[in-house]
Symmetry: C3
Subunit: 159 residues, 3 copies
């Protein structure tokens, strides 16, 4: 496998873990001392929203800070058009992302209504931005050192 | 071309054929005895929705079971973040997908209304899930053996 | 880096430049005499919408013909499922694209409303189609010779 493909696959496993709300799977994509830095790009000016340091903090945030899926709900963190630069055992990537929220309808006890056809529910894009990680090859395996997440939109925190 | 890229291109040609409702182009991505297995992931539990076995059945389903595009309509089956594993002449992939339905507006005989600008119509995400194929290299060309399609939302069948 | 990855990265830099409305960054992905050809696919029949010839014309169009982003606005030109063919120093690619328009909400002076959580604003798919470039390797670097853009929907031009 090429280094570029291996690096892309770290991000692919990260988004799979995020969608499954699987903290351990997400944390496993990071170096032991890896970190996540979250920013809101306010007309290009980066405003820090939060930071997670170390695999335990990252795993905990996935499990406890991401909203659980509602019934028949799922999400897709999708990434696009990575620009990757490899230098020996160091790499950096810039990828676009769009998050989709999916809510399936519940099948009525009397069956789907007359004329209903195809997938029943909604697929809605709700978030977007850029993933800008740096990676390091550790014992032959690429891991995130720092994953910078740059959000296009401001974020409201509950409570 | 790397094996990983070749495998991705099988999926790329599959989605192109699907959007063109071109049964032969879709079937050509499968081994002669290839199959499609469709499931609905009901809160993680896979409920079988259907199965197609062999290139003829697959070509027929694309031509006759997928809805034809309406006037000025098109679709985009888009795939994201593939995780690929190659073992000799066998491969497996896990890719996210989002399907978009596109409907262009008809240009009024009096021209577009005052102030209209840019693309005229709607682009709507309508389906999502995962493609989880296994592939085999046959005479040097990668083909789907089994394409498992896992839908996030339940499906209503007409009639 | 493989040729296929290098070719994908030309497109990745093109869409980054488009989203940043950075004419120079977009033009730098083209050969000096490169061109952009824009078509509307009217039920499969290609209707020409416009053509740009040379890096200066391309840079000028990005800077002056694309709408500037509104306050708290951004766009994502995302591409999907490239089919790439390399022949020595020539390449061609076919990629799907979806354009998303992003508008963040302005934080009320009294703070986000009770119960607001997550990203505040909208992410809307507004355009789609295919990028079908030909590329040439010039002094070791892949550049667009001709970028054919095929839009799924008709376009209204202001004024």
């Amino acid at each position: 496998m090429t280094d570029e493909r291996a690096v892309q696959q770290v991000l692919a496993k990260y988004v799979r873990g995020s969608d499954a709300r699987d903290g351990a799977a997400v944390a496993a994509q990071f170096a032991p001392n890896g970190r996540v830095e979250i920013f809101y790009s306010n007309s290009g000016k980066l405003e820090p929203l939060g930071e997670l340091v170390g695999q335990d903090a990252i795993a905990g945030a996935v499990a406890h800070m991401m909203s659980p899926h509602p019934p028949r709900g799922w999400s897709h963190h999708t990434t696009h058009d990575p620009i990757i630069e490899i230098n020996g055992d160091e790499a950096q990537m810039d990828a676009q992302f769009i998050v989709f929220s999916v809510i399936g309808k519940e099948r009525p006890s009397t069956g789907w209504p007359e004329g209903a056809t195809g997938a029943q529910g909604t697929v809605t894009p709700i978030e977007s931005g850029y993933y800008r990680p740096t990676l390091r090859r550790i014992d032959g395996v690429w891991k995130f050192e720092t994953l910078r997440i740059v959000l296009d939109m401001p974020v409201a925190f509950p409570g």
